[in-house]
Amino acid sequence: MSVSTGASRTSVVRAGSVALCLVVCLGAPATQRRAEPAGPTHGGQIVVAERTPPSTFNPVLAADAQTHAVLDRLFADLVHINRQTLKTEPALASSWSVSTDGLEYTINLRPDLKFSDGHPCTADDVVFSFDVYLDESVHAPQRDLLLVGGKPIDVRKKDDKTIVVKMPEPYAVGERIFDTIAILPKHVLGEAFAKRALPRTWGVDAPPESIVGTGPFRLRENVPGQRIVLERNPYYWKRDRDGGTLPYLDRLVFVTVPSSDAEFLRFKAGEIDIVSQLTGDQLASLSSGSGYQTADAGPSLQYNFLFFNLNDVNAATLPALATRQRWFREEKFRHAVSAAIDRAAMVSIVYRGQGEPLWGPVTRGNATWYNRALPRPARSLERARALLKEAGFSWRDDGALKDQDGKPVEFSVLVQATSVPRKQMATIIENDLAQLGIGVTIVPLDSRAVVDRVQRTRDYDACILGLGGGDADPNVDMPVWLSSGDHHFWNPSAAKPATPWEAEIDSLMRQQISARTFADRKTLFDRVQALIAEHEPMIFLASPDILAAARAGLANFKPAILPHYTLWNVEELYWRQAPDR
């Protein structure tokens, strides 16, 4: 039985676009028709800013967001997650089918696929690409994503246009596994791979014409540290809804701009056409001007949280911390801290109202996995106070909180010194908890020192961190929820679950990865969210909206909540009217 085929999906998409076209053609008011007389126009360029230039042009080795921002425009994957709908859609594969046991995927490639140098792209290139990603000597950061239950997936060629992928065990993520796995040209890289020289190939000094992919653009010029110019790939496979060629733009230019403020000022000066991540105050200052279009893509997938050190620390080496851990382990203490935190103030102060308060790891932006049943109590100092009383805490005459032994309750909170939003959250928490008589010292440290203390030395009281943004699927957060995971921040890489509820979360997360239906997975992950909310090992704070802006004449500008927020549909962007520079 075929569970989901791309072909039927494509036809649905086509039918949808026909319907949309009908609405636009028949229902649109006359003024709008005048503004867009001839539909999409080809030509022109857009300039966008990146904080740092890419660290490589080899997509197999790309690890950071800046590198992906450029390389994801040069390369394409078999199946792609649509950044707006968060659902999969056919890319280089025209369709696929799944065997009834869920273990075997048969993938059909589009006809007449060509690389950006005109060379045909066939099943051999696909098999070659997966060989490269799975080769241990290459050290591809995405290799782990292609392991199911610790075993690599098996990719074989059936004929020139058909590939068969065998999963070692049922895998709930399904075809999402193929997203952003770039299909590489065997005729260019085959030799280097055979000589084990692939990790040294396509570095930042590679000649632009040697970088060959199947993305909407190809590399034209690279001026290290200044700009990267991409030009339209004439062999690009995707067509617009009228069957016209894509991309519409002739060129895409990335310039290196080291700070968000500089990027914003250059956008206002007309030197940059799109800003992908605005802060709330920047958006506010744009709303008063003209010549721009701004968009609020809604709550992002990012979740910021406070957590306490629940590691099994050695009372002999860290005696003071071990005493304080008695408070941190008390669930009522954690609930009281959570109840005292003013999340609404965080949204209004940190994000200038462009965000949402959080009580769980899944934001409203991720509607598929959001657990609506989670309790979301408003801030209440009374409830916090009652909880502390129940847990045996009391107050001195000057209002300071003390524990059963009469020790004043004081702890420090680590925060990354470079993260302004999280530093502001810490300042709010300090003030909120002072109202309970709890003394908080904020310790801003550089990011590496924070991670080192949390994951290695484990010498800290509490910490504020943020996660999320990669994918909407809960599987990306496996290392956070499994007690053996290295992002299980409150007690990372534990040998065994420290509490019964952590053991339950472990088993739920393992069950959902091999569950066959979405409904089953959703029930399991809803329970995980409920357990986390019940025991609060992490106290969730707030999530920013994705805010973006572009020049007014840019059409099809539809920011999404998955990266890349604004360039995900770059092939469909076009200039309704040329920008004034």
Partner: protein, 340 residues
Amino acid sequence: MIRARRAILIVVVAVHAIVLAAPWLVPYDPAAQQRLLAFAPPSRVHAIDAQGRWHLRPFVCAIEPSTAIPFRYTEDCSRRYFVRWLVRRTTAAGFTTRESLRLFSVDEPGEMFLFGTDEFGRDVFSRVLVGARISLVMSISAVCLSLALGVVLGSLAGYMGGTVDAIVSGATELVLALPWLYLLLAARAAMPLSLTPTEAFVIIMALLGAIGWARPARLVRAVVASARANDYVTAARTAGASTPHVLRRHLLPQLPVVLVPLALQLVPQFILGETTLSLFGLGVPEPAPSWGTLLASAQRPQVLVEAWWLLAPVVGLVGICVMYYTLARTLRSGPLVSRL
């Protein structure tokens, strides 16, 4: 001249007295947040009311947050609050309230933010004044420390020459070449995680002093070495003058000319240096105010456009530098002691 000197001295003493007494002079607790009044502009202090009547006692109007745009406020002069000396104000302390005596403030429930409020609704005036106490005392002590080290080491090197010179110059080069970033990270790792404000203060001062002595030492060495070659120094030494005498009488008096401008450069540099240190968890942590952290939060271009009052510490910094410069100029002519 004497009068100008007296005047500037009075100003210097007064400024330092005000700065040192800041916590007792300010109208608000510098860490108290009034989140509903974030980014409120500086309060307008009126003497004439809407009916055109004069009031001997100045007053402020009530401010209301605008419902349409966040962080915009309108003034409602139908409710007036008069400025008074020695006012009792209630502030939230835990889940109770506390009454405290303020040197000046307005009648409750009015608010008087002389320099406006920041993003948390904290009074900028109180933060600038209390922050000045921390930053100014710290950077001035750090400047004194680095100048003292620089003068001692530099004049030794310049006067004695030879091996001493080689050692001191080598050490200077080393200090200037060290990768401070990594040393600071290592130093931070060795220290306890949370530092009390006093500990942080002493550590920052010591660190800034330890990093800062190299440049003054180089400068002093050059001045002393070149002065030593003068005929009058040779004459004095031939006449049997001792080393301390030559240093005190002939060489060190040449230093203020170069050291005073250097010190004036170092004061603001060290105030900002403290911000850099806070990046490594060595600065003055929030919510305690310091000019370094206040300036750091005012570095964003949006602030310049929308909340210009957050630049108040810049005005303070310029004022302080001008004050020291004027002091240095008035002290320059004639022997030091008689000029005071």
